[in-house]
Point group: C2
Chain length 423, copies 2
C-alpha cells in the first residue's frame, strides 16, 4: 500500500494518540552485566537519581489505529528500519497491550474495547531535548517515554506495583528507573518469579532532598566506545572481578546509599557514588579484551574533585561516569556554583552554547574561586585548556514521566505519520 | 672528620671492593599490596621475565673498610642523605652481613674474619644504564645489584636456597626477582615462617625460551604518579577487588602461566599476561581515591595490540603495564619486527635516539606492514602522532646479576668515595 492509500485509510478509521515526556537518570550504584539476556535483567541491584526534565528529556508520541499497517518508530525524525520486529520495541508494545483497558470517550462510552488494542498497530515518534551523541543515557529516557505514552494511550492497568517498569526494562535496562522521579532503585529480581520482580521502585521522591544538583561535563572523545550491550556481555563472560562485585559487594552498598539518601548524608552518598563508579570502570578494565570508557580528561576531573573535597575537608562534589567519558558531578545547591566555576576554570569554554543554563553560566563566570582551592587543584597537573569538554549541563533531580497534552505532537493526528524534524 | 682526613685514614686501612650488575624484570602476574610492611612481603605471588642486561641494567660497586665512618650510598652519582638509617638500605647491608664468611686472599690467608665485617661500614655507588625517569623498575635492578655486590664482597653463604632474594625483597619487593635470570616467581611466603619463605625462585632460565622478546614503549606523561608504596597501601586499605584478587584469582593464574612458560605456549602466556596487567590496573581504579597509571596513550597501545592479535588470529604480542603509563610488549622473535614496525607507525619518532637498538630500528623502519593489518588497527581510532612515546627499547630475556671485574668501578679504590658522574 502506498503512502497515499495509507493516508486515505487513516481518514476512515480513528487515530488515538498520546504524548509523554520522560527524564533520564544517572546511576550511583551501577548496573553492569545481564543475568538473563532474554528478560534483560541485571546481575545486581542499582540505584539512580532521576534528572529534571526541564533540562534533559525524551518526548514520545504514540498513535494507534486499525488503519495502520505495521508498527513503526521514528527517532529524532528518522524512521528506524525493522522496528516492528525489534525485540526491544516489541517488548514495550506487547507488554503494555497486555495491560490495556477499555478506552472511554468523554461521555463514558467505550470507543476501544480492551481486547481491540491487539488489532491496532502502533506508530511512535520520539526525540530528545539533548544531543543523543552526548551519551547522556538517551535510551533510558526514550524507552521510559515510550512506555509512559503507550500506557496513557491504552489505559494500562498494572497487576502489581512497578509492572510497567518491568516493561520499560525490556526496552532498555536503565529505562525502568526513569519511570520514577527522585532516587530510584532497580531490584534485580529472581528467576523463580520469572523476573517479574526485576523492577524499579522509588526510594525517595525528588522533593525529599531538593538541594541535590548535578553538573554534567560532556567530554570530547574521538574514540569509539564499546556499546553497553556488547561490553556487558564480554564483562560477564570474562571478568572475575565483576562476578565478585555483583555477588558480594553491591548489596551492602545499596543499603548504605539508600540510607544515606534518606538521611540526606552527602558525605556517605558522595563517597559511595564515587567508589561505585570507579568499581564499575574497574570491572570494565578487568574485562578481556579490556573496555575503557574514561579517558585522560575524565581522569583529570576525578583528580580535581578529590583535590577539591580534600581541600574542603568534606565531600562537596561526587563524580560518576557511565559507559562513556562524560562526568556527572553531584553536589548540593550551596556548592553548585563553586563546583561549576572550578570546572569552567579547568575546562574553559571553546565556543558558544557551552552551558545549558544562562543564569548558572553567569554565576560561575562571576564566582571568584578561593586561591587556596586553586593551589590544591593545580597540583593535579591539569592545565586549563579549552576543547577538552564540549559542554556543561546544570540540572537537579526531577519527577517521572509527564503527560503532554497539546503543545508537542510528533505524529500527524490525521495520518499518524511522523511530523518531527530535527531543527 | 673532614673529607681530607677521611682520605688519609682510608689509606691506612685496606678497602675491599666488588662490583655487580643486575637486570630489571617485568612482572606478568603482578605484585600489588603488602601483606607485611615491616618484612615487605606481598599479598600474592607474582612472576616476571628478567630482561637482558645488555640493554637495561643497574651497576653497583660496594666497598668496605674499617676506615669508613658510616654507611653511605650514591645513586647516579649523587649521595643519598640519610642512607645509613634508611630501612631499605640497612636491611640489605645487615642482611648480607649476617651471611658473611671469612675473606681469603690469593694464598688462602684470612684477611677478614667473618665476624669482622660487622665492624666495617659500607660505601655503595649505583647507576642505571637507562633513564630512571623512564619508570622501568629501576629500584628492582638497583637493589638486586646492591645485594649481589654485597654478597660477593662478604662471600655471603645462604642458609637455604633463595635467602639472598629475601634480603633484596626488603630493599625493594620486586628486586628479589632480579636475582635470577629467565622466568622468576616470587612466592608470597607465610607469617608462620617469619616470611623467610617469601622468596624468589627461578621457574626457567633465559635459555629455556630464547625466542621471547620485549618491545618497551616509554610513554610521555606529565602527570605525577602515585608512588607504588603509597598506592599499594591505599589499595590494600580500600579495594575490595584487590583482596578478592589476591585471595582467590592469583594462585590459579600463577599455575597456568608457569605451565605456559615451560610449555612455550605464547597464546596462554600472552593472554594471562594481558589479563593480569588489566586486573592490576582495575584494582588501582577500585582504590579510593582511585589511582590511574595508564593514560590515553597506554589505552591506545592496548587497543592496537588486541586489534593486531585479532587480525593475526593468534596472540603475537602481549602488553603489560607496571605502575606507570609505559607498555612492555612481549612477543616472539619471529614477530618482533612486525610489532616494532606497528608501534613505530602509530607512535612515530619525535627526535633522535628513539630506538635503543640501531639494527632493530633499521629493520622496523624498512618493514612493510600488511595493509590488512593497518586497516584493522586503524579502526582503533589511533592516529599516527609523534610525541606520545618518548623512546622504544628492544630487548630479550637475560640472566641474573653478574660480577664485573675491572672495567667499571663506581668507587675510588683509594678512598672508597664515589667516582661515578652522570655523563
Amino acid at each position: 500500500m502506498t503512502e497515499e492509500n495509507s493516508k486515505k485509510k487513516a481518514k476512515l478509521a480513528p487515530i488515538y494518540m498520546e504524548t509523554s515526556s520522560a527524564p533520564t537518570n544517572i546511576a550511583c550504584i551501577k548496573y553492569w552485566g545481564k543475568a538473563d539476556a532474554h528478560y534483560n535483567t541485571p546481575i545486581n541491584d542499582s540505584v539512580s537519581v532521576t534528572l529534571d526534565q526541564a533540562d534533559l528529556k525524551a518526548v514520545t508520541t504514540v498513535a494507534s489505529s486499525t488503519a495502520f499497517e505495521s508498527d513503526r518508530l521514528w527517532l529524532n525524525g528518522i524512521e528506524e528500519e525493522g522496528a516492528a520486529t525489534s525485540k526491544r520495541f516489541r517488548a514495550c508494545i506487547d507488554g503494555v497491550k497486555a495491560l490495556a483497558t477499555d478506552k472511554l470517550d468523554d461521555k463514558g462510552t467505550v470507543v476501544v474495547k480492551k481486547e481491540d488494542w491487539q488489532n491496532m498497530h502502533i506508530h511512535a515518534s520520539s526525540f530528545n531535548t539533548f544531543p543523543t551523541a552526548a551519551g547522556l543515557a538517551s535510551s533510558a529516557a526514550g524507552y521510559a517515554a515510550l512506555v509512559a505514552a503507550l500506557s496513557l494511550l491504552m489505559g494500562a492497568k498494572e497487576e502489581y506495583p512497578g509492572q510497567l517498569t518491568t516493561i520499560a526494562r525490556q526496552g532498555s535496562g536503565s529505562a525502568c528507573r526513569s519511570l520514577n522521579g527522585g532516587f530510584v532503585a532497580w531490584r534485580r529480581g529472581s528467576v523463580d518469579q520469572e523476573w517479574k520482580n526485576s523492577l524499579a521502585e522509588q526510594v525517595a521522591d525528588e522533593k525529599h532532598w531538593p538541594e541535590i544538583r548535578a553538573v554534567i561535563m560532556v567530554v570530547s572523545d574521538a574514540k569509539k566506545d564499546t556499546s553497553s550491550t556488547a561490553g556487558m556481555s564480554t564483562s560477564v563472560a570474562t571478568s572475575l572481578l565483576l562476578k565478585y562485585r555483583a555477588d558480594t559487594v553491591v548489596a551492602q552498598r545499596m543499603e548504605e546509599i539508600e540510607r544515606a539518601f534518606l538521611a540526606k548524608d552527602f558525605e556517605a552518598f558522595g563517597r559511595l557514588t564515587m567508589a561505585d563508579s570507579n568499581q564499575f570502570h574497574a570491572t570494565c578494565l578487568d574485562t578481556y579484551p579490556p573496555i575503557f570508557y574514561m579517558n585522560d580528561v575524565s581522569h583529570s576531573i576525578i583528580r580535581i574533585i578529590h583535590a577539591y573535597n580534600k581541600w574542603a575537608g568534606q565531600i562537596r562534589a561526587a563524580y560518576t561516569f557511565d559507559a562513556g567519558p562524560n562526568a556527572v558531578l553531584f553536589t548540593l545547591n550551596q556548592y553548585a556554583v563553586e563546583v561549576g566555576a572550578l570546572m569552567l576554570h579547568y575546562y574553559p569554554c571553546l565556543g558558544e552554547h557551552y552551558v545549558n543554563n544562562p543564569e548558572f553560566e553567569a554565576e560561575i563566570k562571576a564566582f571568584e574561586i578561593d586561591a587556596g582551592l586553586l593551589a590544591a587543584t593545580d597540583k593535579t597537573g591539569q592545565d586549563p585548556q579549552p576543547g577538552q569538554v564540549k559542554m556543561m549541563y546544570y540540572t537537579r533531580s526531577g519527577p517521572g514521566p509527564k503527560k503532554l497534552t497539546d503543545t508537542i505532537l510528533n505524529l500527524d493526528p490525521e495520518t499518524g505519520l511522523n511530523t518531527y524534524k530535527v531543527a
